[in-house]
């Protein structure tokens, strides 16, 4: 397989990479950029553990070829709370919205995208936004509470 040159902007930093066609964006994030916050869960776009923000919107990085990501801008969980923790990260800790933690990076990024586009979501809107982020520990109650606690009055 011939390698393809791509350029990604991840967490504000530009990267020039030579990728194989069958590498996913998730592979490149984890293996080449050392950003292991995004997790490989189901690998089929159901669980959302691999969620990253692409141009501000949540996407499943396991279903995007690295080559398709060429020229786009991404935020991973490592790009949040540099210096001091992001308010969502603090809220998740404070409310006990984390148990095993495997889904947390993706869930927090989806929550961030939601609050960025809809600063005052109703509970139903929070739940709808999180439909693609599976959490098998918490039962979502504390996750929804944590997100609600970040809504500016």
């Amino acid at each position: 397989m011939k390698r393809i040159p791509i350029e990604l902007k991840v967490n504000g930093v530009k990267h020039h990479l030579m990728v194989k066609p069958n590498w996913t964006l998730l592979d490149v994030m984890r293996n080449d950029l050392g950003l292991t916050g995004a997790k490989k869960g189901c690998g089929s776009g159901k669980c959302g553990c691999c969620t990253v923000l692409m141009n501000g919107e949540p996407v499943d990085s396991c279903l995007i070829l690295a080559a398709q990501a060429n020229g786009e801008e991404f935020v991973t969980i490592e790009g949040l709370g540099t210096g001091k923790p992001h308010p969502l990260q603090l809220a998740f800790v404070e409310k006990g919205a984390i148990q095993c933690g495997f889904c947390t990076p993706g869930t927090i990024l989806t929550a961030k995208a939601l609050l960025d586009t809809n600063p005052h979501p109703r509970e139903a809107e929070i739940k709808a936004a999180l439909a693609g982020n599976f959490c098998r520990c918490t039962g979502y109650v504390k996750i929804v509470e944590a997100i609600q606690s970040c809504v500016q009055p």
């Binding site: 397989m1 011939k2 393809i4 066609p21 069958n22 590498w23 996913t24 690998g43 089929s44 776009g45 159901k46 959302g48 969620t51 692409m54 919107e57 949540p58 996407v59 499943d60 279903l63 995007i64 070829l65 080559a67 398709q68 060429n70 020229g71 989806t110 995208a113 709808a128 936004a129 439909a131 693609g132 982020n133």
Partner: protein, 297 residues
């Protein structure tokens, strides 16, 4: 799950994509959002030795209204369809179907053209588009052509396009006057799931006679392809509110009999019962909106 080996080509324009497809031959595949194709290649259900990525062909991503004609570019994502004010106003049945597709993550990548070209019998956008009597426009080496969506699907995962052709846009005539529509989807989970069955009902009012000028019903996940329930439609067309309600149980049964589910994932009888129930439920709410002056279009 790892992807098999393949060659990747990125197209910069529609003409570039067409050239690449023609050059690469019949085994080349078009890659749009990839939420379906990449997954099916991972699962080794589908092969793509050569992928032509049209993801950067921005000229194929648009929603336009010209007079009463609405054109949706094949590369328009479901998140953009769900968010479009134009569609919410003129084709709310499509907005509703788009909202119910996959998860937010999937809707941010999956495209309407990709959904149709994947041609799953349960394709989520198909029942609503069938009920809207949509046409598809495609281009290839021999130029541009179009077809009704109804004639587009030829079987499970197959359609009328040749390997060198690309779906360009979906064209819908938004009807004059008062119309209403609804899309009902049965899932195993409350969200982010495939349709076990999808039922779309669209109707238009004849305001002078207070009758149904037009009724269209699209069904997904209940036959080898998404289908229209034409006999059920004919039973309801031209009727008043009261008469339509009276005929509805029979029409819904007719729609269910017209379905031809495989019974592979769910028993046939159950799927037919769902069609019957959803046609009844969908048509009832559409009739109410049309005749009783609820919030409608």
């Amino acid at each position: 799950m790892r992807l098999p080996a393949f060659e990747y080509h990125s197209a910069v324009s529609l003409s570039d994509a067409l050239e690449k497809l023609a050059q690469l031959g019949p085994h080349a595949r078009v890659l749009a959002g990839g939420t379906d194709l990449v997954l099916r290649m991972k699962l080794r259900i589908e092969k793509g030795d050569q992928l032509v990525d049209i993801g950067k062909v921005r000229e194929l991503a648009f929603i336009r209204k010209e007079g009463s004609t609405i054109r949706i570019g094949a590369l328009t994502r479901f998140s953009d369809i769900a968010a479009s004010e134009t569609l919410r106003k003129h084709l709310p049945i499509l907005s509703s179907a788009a909202e119910q597709i996959g998860s937010w993550q999937i809707r941010n990548r999956a495209t309407i053209g990709g959904n149709l070209c994947s041609a799953s019998p349960a394709a989520d956008s198909a029942p609503a588009l069938l009920a809207l009597d949509a046409r598809v426009v495609f281009v290839g080496p021999e130029g541009e052509a179009n077809a009704s969506l109804e004639s587009f699907f030829t079987g499970p995962r197959t359609h009328i396009l040749h390997p060198a052709q690309i779906l360009k846009e979906i064209v819908i005539e938004s009807s004059e006057g008062r119309s209403a529509g609804t899309y009902l989807k049965l899932m195993r989970r409350k969200a982010a799931d495939l349709a076990m069955a999808g039922v779309a009902v669209q109707a238009r009012l004849n305001p002078e006679e207070q009758t149904l000028a037009e009724v269209t019903i699209g069904l997904g996940g209940v036959a080898a392809t998404p289908i229209r329930a034409k006999r059920a439609e004919a039973m309801l067309k031209g009727l008043s509110h009261a008469k339509a309600l009276k005929v509805l149980p029979e029409a819904a049964l007719m729609a269910a009999m017209g379905a031809n589910p495989s019974g592979r994932r769910i028993p046939e009888d159950y799927r037919r019962a769902i069609v019957e129930a959803y046609v009844k439920r969908g048509a009832k709410s559409v009739l109410e909106t049309l005749f009783d002056g609820g919030p409608a279009r």
